[in-house]
Subunit: 348 residues, 2 copies
């Protein structure tokens, strides 16, 4: 969106200290200065200007969605994003998966003593840019500091609220046998980009995270009257976890066509070398939609406008409740298990 | 409230593992089991039962308050509370300071690999009990796990929303010269209780944190028609920070009478020995209220019903904007400075 690196466009306003000190979390003047000169400067919103402990805003009657996530990704910066853009997009996307447009966000930082303030400033500017892009704003926040060695630079919590688009009820229990399963883009890029950065792997072709807000495609589906029954972003645990969770919660079977699932060529190659399944790798800008089968073509057309790699990948069935089966490329069937535990830790 | 230790009343439901593993944050089956068997069991609410990424609930039109805090207190358990009750009360109280009754809360955990699940269960039950006591519920959550040594057992974020009592506008800019300043209880107990526990100090008389929800006294003030102009809880930085922040934000002077500020005898003695000022020590169940002077007596009567140590401690004045002065016990005046930086780190 913005081709200028904001870290160059806006120099760090705080100059008295170059690193986070324990005193920045002490509740005194130093914390006030950090909040005023760094966070309020980066996030500026009418609610933050009131300098209250909480934000106060007028809302209409409606169906409110609320979602929270803490972000502990390592490293803080990776190809295609950073902990700041991830913390905004991740929570915005959880709201979108409820069918809600984000209204506002809270942001809470746990800073590690010694974190360069320049790093924190880059993260804060990235959060502001991501919030602008997703059409939302930060209205309240919190700052804590922990001793050196008791964190990883910065952990961020974002919590968002938004209103569900009128007349829609989107939930795993809304899925019906026969529903088409669509995917909004190719899978596996976020996890592989973070892994590559962390392990200093050099890929033949660079792999960039898909980290992005999903508000626009979701809202277009809903506004154009597509009968969307359930939405789920394929984050931790990848597409396999998203499919298995929705299968379990809907008490239906799901059948997908492996060849239809879009995987970036570079991601596929690296996964093969490392023995990883791209369907188990986390995404941060990709979701599955369960839609009424008669709306599937219209829905796919909308998704393709936002991402040409969107695809129809399968259907909900009256097969074994909670099971996910894949038609393999050679025409057989295999069960797609949910990952059990840790695959790539700390990817969000 | 509850004399039975809930850890004994409700045995830990998860038995497969005794400690948090990295895999508990991996997005797979182990994370699902932890969420289902521990968090959903402890927090049970209609919204959590939908098993969605976010909570969805119907709300009326009104003025919404939103507040967030992360909790990094060390140690996790202290006389009078624990990180769980603190995480609920702290956020509930920030909403109350906006004049709002809490509607619901999100909870996000950052767990350290190796944390005993028994400890997490005790914390979760304590959160549930505190939420019940404050008349609110947990509707959505998140779990992350970081490697051993990168956390302190557990960090918790809670974010709350609530509706501001109709017709009230409570903010530092609402304070007027002449407003009476009331305090809801004695100061300094939370910080001293945590310090005592952390440093294994043995006090002559035990000091218990004042950690408690402040919804009831605030709502009674508002419902009985007290003209409340501003509320502020005296957490990090203590009463001194709360007074200085409101003085700055209201652009008024504040005058308080040191003899009128209630300090527990044991807290006063220990502070004197350690060279600490109880007005700089954090509280977690104590707030100041700026009320119309003609309502001060009625307001104090209400506050005293909830805590007999509530007191009228001073007034807002047309004196130097942003300054806080104390009439000392021998009749002189001294400026009460905000603490600059760290006094007692990690007390919330």
């Amino acid at each position: 969106m913005n081709k200028i690196d904001p870290a160059f466009a806006c120099p760090l306003p705080l100059t008295q200290h170059s690193k986070v000190l324990m005193a920045h979390g002490g509740g005194g003047q130093m914390m006030m200065d950090l909040v005023d000169q760094l966070f309020r400067a980066a996030f500026d919103s009418p609610e933050l200007r009131t300098r209250h402990d909480g934000a106060v805003l007028a809302v209409p009657a409606g169906t409110l969605a609320m979602s929270t996530d803490s972000y502990v990704i390592k490293p803080l910066f990776f190809p295609g994003g950073d902990i700041g853009s991830l913390a905004i997009n991740g929570t915005v996307n959880d709201l979108a998966m409820c069918g809600a447009r984000p209204l506002c966000l809270s942001v809470a930082f746990i800073l590690e003593e010694g974190l360069p303030l320049e790093t924190l400033w880059r993260v804060a500017l990235s959060m502001r840019a991501a919030a602008d892009r997703a059409g939302t704003r930060i209205v309240t926040g919190d700052t804590k500091v922990v001793e050196r060695g008791h964190g990883d630079g910065v952990y961020i919590n974002t919590t968002g609220i938004g209103f569900v688009a009128s007349g829609h009820r989107i939930s795993p229990t809304g899925i019906r046998a026969g529903d088409a399963i669509l995917i909004s883009g190719d899978v596996g890029r976020h996890g592989m980009a973070v892994l590559g950065q962390r392990e200093s792997l050099s890929f033949k072709s660079p792999i960039k995270s898909d980290c992005a807000p999903l508000v626009a495609p979701v809202m277009e589906l809903l506004e154009r009257g597509v009968r969307v029954h359930c939405l789920r972003d394929a984050t931790r645990g990848g597409l396999a976890a998203a499919l298995n969770e929705t299968a379990t919660d809907s008490r239906l079977g799901l059948e997908c066509d492996q060849a239809a699932i879009p995987v970036d060529e570079a991601v596929g190659e690296v996964c093969e070398i490392l023995g990883l399944d791209p369907l188990h790798i986390a995404n941060e800008g990709c979701f599955i939609a369960f839609v009424d089968p008669s709306d599937a073509d219209a829905a796919l057309k909308i998704l393709k406008k936002h991402n040409p790699r969107a695809a129809r990948i399968g259907s909900a069935t009256t097969g074994e409740a909670g099971s996910v089966v894949l038609r393999t490329e050679i025409g057989g069937w295999r069960v797609l298990e949910a990952p059990y535990g840790e695959l790539l830790p700390r990817i969000c």
